[in-house]
């Protein structure tokens, strides 16, 4: 195993453990903070894979903006604490479905790729921000414009939805 693989495994263990904590935590604010840990370790995985720009965007947008939005959402709504109010009574069915999906995906992965051998091993190459930018604005300008239109629609929609309408 190489140093990169060790770094990845440490990050993956931290990310997986905090992902489990996100979906099982009894306190909603703790769940949001575990989500921060999980998103940070995913950002670390991006750094290990040489995707520096995506890693910083992940940290800026997910940790900086989305988790803050979640915390505001939790603060503006009543957040009861405790397993019975937070979780479904039949959560073991959900656990069964989750485990089934995980088992199926792992079976397909080890079927399609050689997990133990080095056939699918690769040396991550650092992708520069310049490469990402020129790919985005040369080849994928139409999806980029669609995303910007979507963000505008989401912005207006969120304002319209959350506005207190006294007249109506």
């Amino acid at each position: 195993m190489s140093a990169q693989e060790y770094a990845f495994i440490v990050l993956a263990v931290v990310g997986s453990a905090s992902a489990i904590a996100v979906v099982t935590a009894r306190n909603v604010v703790h769940a949001a903070l575990y989500l921060v840990l999980s998103l940070l370790s995913v950002g670390g995985v991006y750094l290990v894979l040489g995707a520096e720009f995506v890693a910083w965007v992940q940290i800026l947008i997910y940790v900086g903006a989305i988790v803050i939005l979640f915390l505001f959402g939790l603060m503006l709504t009543k957040a009861p604490i405790g397993r019975d109010t937070l979780d479904n009574q039949r959560r073991w069915l959900g656990a069964l479905v989750g485990l089934g999906i995980f088992a199926g995906l792992v079976f397909m992965i080890q079927d399609a790729f050689d997990v133990r051998g080095d056939a699918w091993a690769f040396e991550p190459v650092q992708a520069t921000t310049e490469q990402v930018g020129s790919a985005m604005f040369r080849s994928y300008i139409l999806p980029f414009e669609a995303i910007s239109f979507l963000l505008l629609a989401a912005l207006i929609g969120a304002v319209v939805l959350a506005r207190k309408d006294d007249a109506a």
Binding site: L49, G73, K78, A95, L99, A121
Partner: protein, 100 residues
């Protein structure tokens, strides 16, 4: 050197944790958090294949997915706050107005 299947298994684990969260949680905000975990799993796959193939396209689409996730959370939380204002609950089991 890093082996691609390990990254795919990590991503599969994140996705399964998200599926469990969506199914088991009753608080609507927690359901949205679990959806974020699933979107992250997809992004890990995109970036891993971009690195393995030496093609930048996967990273570009990971950025698009992050932007869509941000829009989704904004709208989702606005809807959740609106439901809380009207029904005084965000328990997804009790919000069954559209259930036939």
């Amino acid at each position: 050197m890093i082996r691609l299947p390990l990254i795919l298994i990590f991503s599969a684990f994140l996705f399964s944790a998200g599926v469990y969260g969506v199914l088991a949680r009753r608080n609507a905000v927690m359901v949205l958090m679990a959806i974020e975990l699933m979107l992250n799993a997809v992004n890990v796959n995109l970036v891993a294949f971009a690195a393995q193939l030496g093609d930048i396209t996967g990273q570009v689409f990971a950025l698009f997915v992050i932007a869509v996730a941000a829009a989704e959370v904004g709208i989702g939380l606005a809807i959740v706050i609106l439901i809380f204002r009207n029904r005084a609950t965000i328990n997804v089991d009790e919000v069954n107005l559209l259930k036939w």
